[in-house]
């Protein structure tokens, strides 16, 4: 049985958290994630979940308390946005270095300055090298389902790595959409019971966690094993996504394609922008242009091989980035990864960079249609092309 409801994205995530029913949630409210914490706190107060809710004084404390709980053998979660994620920064590396399978929805929001509360991906991109898995959601349905799957992925014995579930601030978090919720029992069955790899609270098996390794020289080895866990996650994300599909009907992979098979130009997008791009691709097709879409779900780990297979037949690929790297270079962060993936490939597309939607700047299908028409005309730009930016020649 599926319960269909009209909810905002934050409710969809809170509902996933209710069904997961973590042992501990330590969180601090920040726009646009606030409603997740509010709604989940309500569930705790109303006795709908047995979770221990820790109301902390900052996001640094939120992540610290979550780490402490996870090291104590609990299934622990938190959630945040933007400045909150930035304030957690040093703790993100501790969560991943301690191999604690914490799941954290992050509602993507721009980082200040100037102060802005709207969507872009600069917050989670700042954490791209922190050793966390990153799964992007196009809409509330995916935010709900990614949150459920993230638990399984993070806790997999070959992975044991924390995972972020990303959803776009306001566009997804505050828009009412249709979401199908699954019944508690099959969801709980899917998520399963948590068996921690280690716990500080087992007197039969005392251990020490968070040890000092600056003099004896094993640090490098631990980082190498984290990289291995990320490599393992590529397969695990796929397996968990397939199992989810068998159980609930929607199968997940590393990415999803739309009209890509015979595409002559393609766009790669993450998050809600993928929905906008899908509409634009259909419009381009109506205009006789063979356009396609690759919606990337998994940014960390980055599915290098799989993307080469999916895109090598396309002559031109435009990568839509919702953040900048400020490298002074020719492209955004997702573009950099894709170009790098293809560098040694036999057959490779021209890979062009677009940056859009910073600080919630509106991203309309028309922007992508115009960009697609330019590409179809063979007008291939160098460097970053900014979509929706106010420029002098506009």
């Amino acid at each position: 049985m599926v319960r269909t409801a009209a909810v905002v994205g934050t409710d969809a995530v809170a509902e996933a958290m209710r069904q997961i029913e973590p042992d501990v949630v330590a969180a601090y409210p920040i726009t646009p994630q606030t409603a997740i914490v509010e709604t989940f706190s309500g569930m705790v107060a109303d006795g709908k979940v047995s979770t221990e809710m820790v109301n902390v004084e900052s996001e640094h404390s939120a992540m610290s308390a979550t780490i402490g709980a996870a090291a104590g053998g609990s299934r622990a979660m938190t959630c945040t946005s933007s400045q909150g994620l930035a304030l957690m920064w040093e703790m993100l590396y501790i969560a991943s270095g301690l191999r604690l399978p914490i799941v954290m929805p992050n509602v993507n929001r721009a980082l200040s300055a100037p102060i802005n509360i709207h969507c872009d991906h600069s917050d989670s991109m700042g954490a791209r090298d922190s050793g966390w898995i990153q799964l992007f959601s196009e809409n509330s349905q995916e935010a709900y389902e990614n949150t459920l799957q993230a638990v399984r992925i993070a806790e997999h014995p070959e992975v044991l790595t924390p995972a972020m579930v990303l959803l776009d601030g306001f566009i997804t978090s505050h828009t009412t959409e249709r979401v199908d919720f699954y019944e508690d029992n099959p969801v709980k069955e899917f998520v399963g019971n948590y068996q921690p790899h280690y716990t500080l609270l087992d007197p039969e098996k005392p251990i020490s966690v968070g040890n000092f390794d600056a003099l004896y020289g094993y640090f490098f080895e631990f980082k190498r094993s984290q990289e291995e866990a990320m490599k393992n996650a590529v397969q695990v994300v796929k397996e968990v996504g397939e199992e989810f599909g068998k159980k609930f009907g929607r199968t997940y992979g590393h990415f999803e394609t739309h009209r890509l098979e015979d595409a002559e130009i393609a766009f790669l997008a993450m998050g809600s922008g993928a929905g906008t791009t899908r509409t634009a691709v259909d419009e381009l097709r109506n205009q006789g242009i063979k356009a396609g879409l690759l919606k990337l779900r998994m940014f960390r780990p980055f599915p290098f091989q799989e993307l080469i297979q999916a895109l090598s037949h396309v002559p031109v690929v435009g990568v839509l980035d919702r953040s900048l790297t400020f490298s002074g270079g020719p492209g955004g962060p997702v573009w950099q990864e894709l170009r790098s993936a293809f560098f040694d490939a036999e057959s490779k597309p021209r890979i062009l960079s677009y940056v859009y939607g910073l600080g919630g700047r509106d991203f309309s299908p028309q922007l992508v249609v115009d960009a697609g028409r330019e590409l179809a005309e063979g007008n291939l730009h160098q460097g970053i092309r900014y979509l929706g930016l106010k420029e002098e020649d506009d």
């Binding site: 301690l98 044991l160 251990i207 020490s208 966690v209 040890n211 631990f222």
Partner: protein
């Protein structure tokens, strides 16, 4: 409980270490040499010492060795050289000396005190 076997740990590959750098045993602090950055070393004048044990009480580590209720020396594996024992000693029976000098005297087979 059996001791965690760390033989040849310096040569272990990244696959061999326990996940997340945990140490899978308890009570192991005594095995760690934490006094390596000491610049001064406590020397006790046995004749002047009245065995009041104030140094043992005040030592912020566990570096004052006591046997049968008597101070018998210092555990230099753990002593950081803070000098609190010397400062607190009511008989001024503890003196802090230069660590490098003490070490070179030891190497020469001289009268290593402490």
């Amino acid at each position: 409980m059996s001791q965690w076997n760390i033989e040849n740990i310096n040569k272990w590959s990244w696959r061999k270490h326990p996940l997340a750098a945990i140490i899978p045993e308890a009570g192991n602090a005594a095995n760690y040499r934490t006094g390596g950055w000491r610049t001064r070393r406590p020397i006790r004048d046995e004749d002047n010492c009245n065995q009041c044990l104030i140094c043992f009480i005040f030592c912020p580590d566990t570096a004052v060795k006591v046997k049968e209720e008597k101070v018998v020396g210092f555990e230099l594996k753990h002593c950081k050289g803070c000098g609190i024992c010397a400062h607190e000693c009511p008989k001024d029976a503890i003196e802090m000396v230069d660590e490098a000098e003490a070490e070179s005297q030891e190497k020469e087979g001289g009268n290593a005190r402490g």
